[in-house]
Subunit: 337 residues, 2 copies
């Protein structure tokens, strides 16, 4: 690969001059500039981002990192697109890593990001006491958390109103006549699932329906877990008439089991999922879902990160985005009596 020196020689100038035209800083004689540009093109020269970053002070690398909890979850894919669009608009490059909910990998990638001298990082902490994330923030690196908050530390964050989103979903089911509604939850240590549960319980209480703890099934946030929890629900003697799934992977798992049991949705069982998917209408019946604005979350997070990189001292902010209940057919009609 050609370097500055090669270009300088070819153009008959010093490397400083080449660097100047590269960054079109200061005054460079138009003639010289042209010569240099020609040399750059001729050599197919690309400045090394690595050398640049080594030289640059923090905040000037034009590089951010994004550490993704689970790339199999379409929600994060939306977030990625949002981050990316915003970043490319601002002239930033992104490096992303997926840690598949594996704590060791999370640490590994967080370390890599740090040692890649990123200007800042977007992180979805594993849970609210995520030591890795906290340590990282304490080093002073600009960080924006998404999806999940962190306890005991002040940090920029963009989240969604999980409680409200869940409540609306449950209220729809109640309005439709359901009284026994199961909640298929992800791990309780993840705050989002607790918040969704709070919304679930609130809706029930508001309508004078006692919360039956046996209807709250807790697993992890995977497709597989959705299957297991749904099987459990179907085995119950006083089976609920509706399901509220804690995330989209759980929803998909639940649907698989429901279909396998040849249940007719929504008549035999109603279901609402947390997280919409662009292909929710390809499901049969089309899925009623609490839509999180994943793209917007990504966009806002990137935006906040750039602001913090520019001004490290600005007060931290918490942005809470609204969910939207997408009413389709899976929530359906009143339950059979």
């Amino acid at each position: 690969m050609a370097n500055l020196k090669d270009v300088a020689i070819k153009a008959g100038v010093s490397i400083a001059t080449v660097s100047r035209v590269l960054n079109d800083s200061q005054k460079v004689n138009p003639g010289t500039r042209l010569k240099v540009k020609k040399a750059i093109k001729a050599l197919n020269f690309q400045p090394s981002r690595v050398a640049r970053r080594l030289r640059a002070q923090s905040g000037q690398s034009k590089l951010i990192g994004f550490v993704i909890p689970d790339i199999q979850n379409p929600f994060y894919v939306d977030v990625i697109r949002g981050v990316e669009d915003m970043a490319s608009k601002m002239g930033y490059a992104i490096i992303m890593s997926n840690f598949s909910q594996d704590a060791a990998k999370e640490k590994l990638y967080l370390d890599i990001m740090r040692s890649e001298s990123v200007d800042g990082l977007i992180v979805a902490p594993a849970h609210e006491h995520d030591r890795e994330a906290i340590n990282l923030i304490e080093t002073g690196l600009p960080v924006v958390c998404i999806d999940r908050v962190l306890a005991d530390i002040d940090v920029d964050v963009v989240v969604v109103d999980n409680r409200q989103g869940a409540r609306e979903a449950i209220e729809l089911l109640i309005k439709l006549g359901h009284r026994r509604i199961a909640y298929l939850s992800g791990p309780q240590k993840i705050p989002t699932y607790r918040e969704r549960q709070t919304g679930y319980e609130e809706a029930l209480r508001n309508h004078n329906i006692a919360v039956d703890k046996s209807l709250i099934k807790v697993g992890d946030s995977t497709h597989q877990s959705g299957k297991i929890l749904t099987e459990k629900v179907l085995k119950m003697s006083d089976r609920p008439t509706a399901l509220f799934a804690g995330n989209n992977l759980i929803t998909l798992g639940a649907l698989e089991v429901l279909h396998a049991h040849h249940l007719h949705l929504p008549v035999d069982m109603s279901i609402i999922g947390f997280d919409d998917m662009y292909w929710a209408m390809s499901l049969n019946p089309p899925l009623t879902a609490v839509s999180q604005p994943g793209y917007e979350i990504g966009r806002r997070a990137a935006e906040m990160l750039f602001q913090r990189i520019t001004d490290v001292t600005r007060p931290t902010a918490k942005v809470t985005l609204k969910t939207k209940l997408m009413i389709r057919r899976s929530s359906g009609a009143p339950p059979r009596q």
Copy 2:
């Protein structure tokens, strides 16, 4: 961030010694090693990958890049996981970028990868004459192509037997009694779609069914395109009895339209999709699909890349993986007469 020098001072040794314990190269006095390790921990020191990479000769960065055509497509998500698992097993870090089928972005990210001094790159070329990809390979950077081959250039590649996969799918439909089968294709300039079409036509010819060009609908590789093409098919006066969708996004779009028209699958219309998804069983009816081993493609591609990085002169190889027809209910029973 602490650097080598800080650690050296703290441990009372030279930076060379610190570097040695870091790379546990050569002999270092166990006592000294301990002191250094202690200093490293105390300062929470992390060697800069940037500086390391600047210093390293090509092939020693322990960093590979992966440029993804469309992260919304679950197929690539599987590939990512395969690449990642293999890479982390081999001690490589990955940087990935998604270009959302946007040629300008593809070039941008390819350039960034190059200027990040990656040791090698995994690429799914936009099409077989993708200039960017070809230029890149010509610079001598180790590259492995996946999913799509490149014309006129010798490069390592791992693909799938698209022709065979498509043929099996169509043969199943024929066996089920279908005679009029539509193919919802992605862009013809992408070789995979042409290969799938060849398989489609072969199956038809093998069973003495004339190929009706009006049944081959060409769009792009998106969900939206799947919807449009399916609407077209449904408007045909001599509507086909089965659909073969060119990729999973197209499949999902097709399903959405089919359900919207209240068609009963597979009785009113049978469908087989190219590309399986882990939630194909969550669809109703469960989707019959040609499963591409995405994870395995990623694993193999990473493996080949590491081999090429180690030995640039080895002859290039083409790995062709088999697809597997996952017969579920959407392909269904014979068509109504």
